[in-house]
Symmetry: C2
Subunit: 143 residues, 2 copies
DNA sequence: ATTGAAAATGAAAGTTAATATCATTTAGCC
DNA sequence: GGCTAAATGATATTAACTTTCATTTTCAAT
């Protein structure tokens, strides 16, 4: 799903909820959808303010809350005390590795790990539908 | 590793760091080691205050920071805005698989998965010191 | 056992991020 | 265009975490 499609999903979500659409919210959402990192509210606000300096923190906060609510964003906490919002990746699911010193986040995907997960779950009688895998360590610059 | 062993690990950690041992810290640590849930600072403070009402929040905070530092506790955030501390389970590290219908939690451990994690991290220049793996799905009774 | 330096404590203050409030503005239906 | 509900932006509040500081305690060296 690309940014344009996501905007459409958002639009129809607003309609079903009887909410109004505004230039600010659209711009915040669009900026978020075009970002490819795990972005915090402050970072997103800064980005948005470049073109629209009068947008307030509260509006960014409320927009991200809305996007999280309708599944277009995922709120994540990596332990540095800040909530980061994950834009649903184009290539589907991925896992994270987080530097415990500088908080840098890298992404990876390993099919074999996922297969082993399924097998481990099966042994316990479970059927996996989703998972969360986070590695914590030191990045090349901090080790 | 049981509570007694953990106290010993803590003690030797304090020694190597040149830190002093105190009744308060020992009691907080012991209380934590004997807990089996993911406990928050407030909860732990409350527990500790039952027998030692004059212990302060800051001391609990500092003790848990210390335990996290030396690997005897793991700080986790489940998205409710509170940090919870996980007591290292007796059987060593394990991962969780959670039933999304009945919330049953099973535990498993797979050495091969951990190895693949290390490898994936290495490719990205990271050194792993810790990880978090949670599978979500249906247990045998709910599937 | 006494002493002195370094660390620990507890209370309180400071910090940070998240959330709520409120007066004003805006969207969208009539 | 006018009306009503929602949105906005600034600010205030809250909650959790972290630091500060005066006092107390530990422990190693007498």
């Amino acid at each position: 799903m690309d940014a344009v499609n996501k905007m459409e999903v958002l639009k129809s979500y607003l309609e079903t909820k009887g909410l109004k659409s505004t230039a600010q919210r659209d711009y915040i959402a669009d900026t978020f959808f075009k970002s490819n990192t795990h972005i915090s509210l402050d970072e997103l606000l800064k980005k948005v303010k470049r073109k629209t300096p009068n947008i307030g923190y509260a509006t960014v906060y409320r927009t991200m809350k809305l996007l999280t609510e309708c599944g277009l964003a995922i709120a994540r906490q990596f332990g540095d005390g800040q909530t980061r919002y994950e834009n649903l990746p184009q290539g589907g699911h991925h896992d994270h590795i987080i530097c415990i010193k500088c908080s840098k986040i890298a992404e990876f995907h390993n099919q074999k790990i996922e297969q082993l997960q399924m097998e481990a779950a099966k042994k316990l009688g479970f059927t996996v539908v989703n998972h969360k895998l986070e590695l914590y360590g030191y990045c090349s610059e901090c080790s």
